[in-house]
Amino acid sequence: MSMRQLWEGTDARPWAREINGRTKLIVLFLYAILMITIDNPRSLFILFMLTLLLHLAAGTSFYKWKVMAVLLMLGLWGSMVSQALFFSQIPRTPLFVLISLDTPVLGAVTGGLFIYREGILYGAVQGLRAATMLSLGLLVCWTSDPRQLLNALLAWHLPPQVAFMLVTAIRFLPVLAAETGEIITALQLRSDTQRGRTAIIQHIPYIAKPLLARCLRRAQTLALSVVSRGFFSAKVSQVRQSWRTLEKAGCFAFCLFTLAVVGSKICYVLSEQGFYFGMFRKLYDISKLYL
């Protein structure tokens, strides 16, 4: 599977592809709010598992599962490593000493650098937030055509000029990638060292200028074409995808649920600061146990 195919949403089950872009973006945004609101590890895990179940239901291909698994594992690992190093809660048990307190300069600057056992677990739990959003983001990406999401933004009154710029950026992404490849080839051929011919990393600093120069030339040509045809000032044509009542109702219900969760959490946090109201006791219990 090519890189391009990897980011396309053509192989997903029809029901997932047919969902309106607006529904997908709303669910994505509300889910993100839930992920930063909830603290309970069990609830976070359930929400994460839910996104994986959605992937199953949407028929995500095995190759994409593998890609997602790698990305999720790397993300979780990164979170675990960083929190194992910087865990700042008690109790904490140092497993390894990376920089001792006695180390000259670094010891004094860092106050010692340790791998904390509790930090690893904490990092895994907190990493679930980012992992869930990555999983859901990939689900939206793998079940949607970019046009579908663009139409959703247009339906929300995105200025046509901005929409035009967005379409231009999307359309020219593969072209720019191809041009970058050409520039790298040219730089490799011009390089006078044997090692430099193959090492792309050495040529990276020299890619920017020719690539941007080509962009400017392309922009000149495109602008002439666009202005002469009157495209720029006109509305971008869009194929309106129907937004079914069921989807609208679902979005509305999810929005209410998210508001309730956020409201409940805010009430609980306020109660910890002394703003306690007896009538919200059940709400406090729910927040403490599940949120």
């Binding site: 997908k24 994505l28 990164g78 008690i90 970019p146 000029q161 710029m165 999307i170």
Partner: protein, 551 residues
């Protein structure tokens, strides 16, 4: 002359009078109440203090004195430093300073099992070189008056000496009057965030922070409920320590407030922060139940959030009682809240900027708009895309230090693109347009539509646009290298601020921890250094690209 003689005679007479009144005065009180209450009856097996106060005045030399106490039958003195305790008596050697001296002490006397009820007498004698002071104290003893109200097993004999007093309960947090606020969660202490203390004080006009005052302000109060079944009267030492719940080791976090005056042992003892404990002196006043409201002092620089065990130790007279209660320390993250507040403020400004976006698009024309779109595509494909895919890999290998590598893209490349675009299209709003297109590309291609993404983009847009506007970038006719060097540094500083705000946001929303040195390193390297370099390269690149535009 006559007046002088009269004065001299008067002075000599008064001195002689003073010398005539020179001497020693001894005061002995048993049972002595720390609250100066008059107590006449000693109740069953209690431990009460004998107070001896010896005052010497107008003796122009140092004196040695022997203090001896003869106890009634069935009474014994508890061991004490400086005292020789024998059955039925105790003695001590005191040195009295010249001219004026005051020596005083408390000696704890305990009624033993053998003591019988009735009228008792205690004799206190102080003997000097050529003087002797004696006092006989009479008191009543009621052996059955108060006994320990503890259920006892018949076969097990309770050692009454161990139950003079004990800790009934420890409650925290309470208010300074000892009232428990039912709205506050039990066993949770909120510690103020002192990160912005200096800034806050200066803004309020209070000047530099008085850290002594901050440290001497209690973080919380606890209510120590003591039981004193034998009605002891005595001074006890109180100590509160934080323990690691897993290892049981004492950890840093609590401190003792500084001395309230210059005399050691008065009030709070020891210097601030010397030990990881809060200490105090408490006095049992002979009541069966007594509650103490005690302040807990926290080392704001060292205390960490988390679950602890609070160990309360009360000791005195050879006895020690310990009680441990669970304690949670929670910090108020004012810096995180401030960062999020700033991000929301930026978001509101960005909404205003978005309304003017269309105007900006028309001002740069179709060519400009397409250029911005293509630059945004490069920014997305060359920065966001590799950062998402390779960033995770680098993150897994280097952990928190991965940003130093990915920062080469997000710092140098990003600012190279921004500044070179701005050199070509020097108009307010161009930057906003670039960031908006990039954010939307990221949202559409990766589904990265999230509140943090929106807030983070808002901070980038508002801070960078504001800095460029303030530096006069949009108004300047010619961009010379000197000026652009300053702009590059300014953008670097701005990016350091953006990095800080965005990391604080991440910490706030994702409940992550990053050390202060790590934040500083990111701000300096990723923010200031990389972004300034990127901006400078961007200026050079943009200047060259002008030739392409004018072709």
């Amino acid at each position: 002359m006559r007046n002088f003689i009269v004065c001299l005679v008067t002075l000599l007479l008064s001195l002689a009078g003073v010398q005539a009144f020179a001497g020693q005065q001894m005061e002995a009180v048993y049972p002595y109440s720390l609250e100066k209450r008059e107590i006449r009856t000693v109740t069953g097996h209690s431990t009460l203090p004998l107070f001896i106060n010896l005052t010497s005045f107008d003796v122009p030399r140092m004196q040695e004195a022997e203090v001896s106490v003869r106890l009634p039958e069935g009474f014994s003195a508890l061991p004490k430093e400086g005292w020789q305790v024998r059955p039925g008596s105790a003695s001590a050697h005191w040195s009295l300073d010249a001219d004026y001296a005051q020596n005083f002490d408390l000696l704890y006397i305990q009624a033993d099992e053998a003591a019988v009820s009735g009228s008792k007498q205690m004799e206190v004698t102080v003997t000097g070189e050529d003087w002797n002071e004696k006092k006989t104290i009479s008191f009543a003893y009621d052996a059955a008056g108060e006994t320990l109200e503890q259920p006892q097993e018949k076969s097990k004999k309770v050692d009454r000496k161990k139950f003079n007093w004990y800790i009934q309960s420890v409650t925290l947090p309470v208010d300074p009057f000892g009232h428990r606020d039912e709205r506050a969660e039990n066993g949770v202490v909120y510690v103020r965030d002192t990160t912005l203390e200096g800034f806050r004080n200066r803004m309020k006009g209070d000047g530099a922070t008085n850290w002594s005052a901050v440290f001497n302000h209690p973080a919380a109060f606890l209510l120590l409920d003591m039981r004193n079944p034998q009605r002891d009267i005595r001074v006890l030492r109180f100590k509160a320590q934080l323990l690691d719940r897993v290892t049981g080791q004492v950890v840093e976090g609590l401190v003792t407030a500084g001395k309230t005056d210059h005399e050691a042992g008065e009030g709070w003892a020891g210097k601030t922060g010397e030990e990881a404990e809060t200490t105090a002196l408490i006095s049992l006043d002979g009541k069966k139940t007594q509650a103490f409201v005690l302040p807990l002092y926290v080392d704001y620089f060292k205390v960490l959030e988390g679950e602890y065990t609070l160990r309360i130790t009360v000791d005195g007279g050879g006895q020690q009682k310990i009680q441990e209660v669970p304690l949670t320390i929670a910090k108020k993250h004012s810096l995180g809240l401030l960062a999020v507040g700033f991000a929301f403020f930026c978001f509101l400004i960005m909404l205003g900027l978005l309304l003017r976006l269309k105007k900006c698009v028309f001002s740069i024309g179709a060519k400009g708009a397409i250029t911005v779109a293509l630059f945004a595509a490069i920014s997305f494909g060359g920065i966001a895309l590799p950062s998402t895919i390779l960033g995770d890999l680098v993150h897994a290998l280097l952990g928190p230090f991965s940003g130093l590598i990915t920062g080469l893209l997000s710092g140098i490349m990003q600012y190279l693109l921004i500044v070179s675009l701005l050199v070509l299209y020097r108009k307010p709003g161009v930057l906003t347009l670039l960031y908006v297109i990039k954010f939307m590309l990221s949202g559409i291609m990766f589904g990265h539509f999230s509140p943090i993404g929106v807030l983070s983009t808002s901070v980038y847009i508002v801070v960078t646009e504001a800095l460029l506007w303030l530096s006069g970038f949009f108004r300047k006719e010619e961009l010379d290298p000197k000026y652009m060097f300053c702009v590059a540094v300014l953008l670097g500083l701005g990016d350091a601020l953006i990095t800080f705000v965005n990391l604080e946001q991440m910490m706030f929303f994702y409940r992550l921890y990053y050390a202060d040195w790590f934040l500083t390193m990111y701000m300096v390297v990723n923010g200031l250094l990389y972004s300034s370099i990127g901006s400078w390269i961007g200026f050079r690149t943009g200047t060259k690209l002008r030739q392409v535009v004018s072709e």
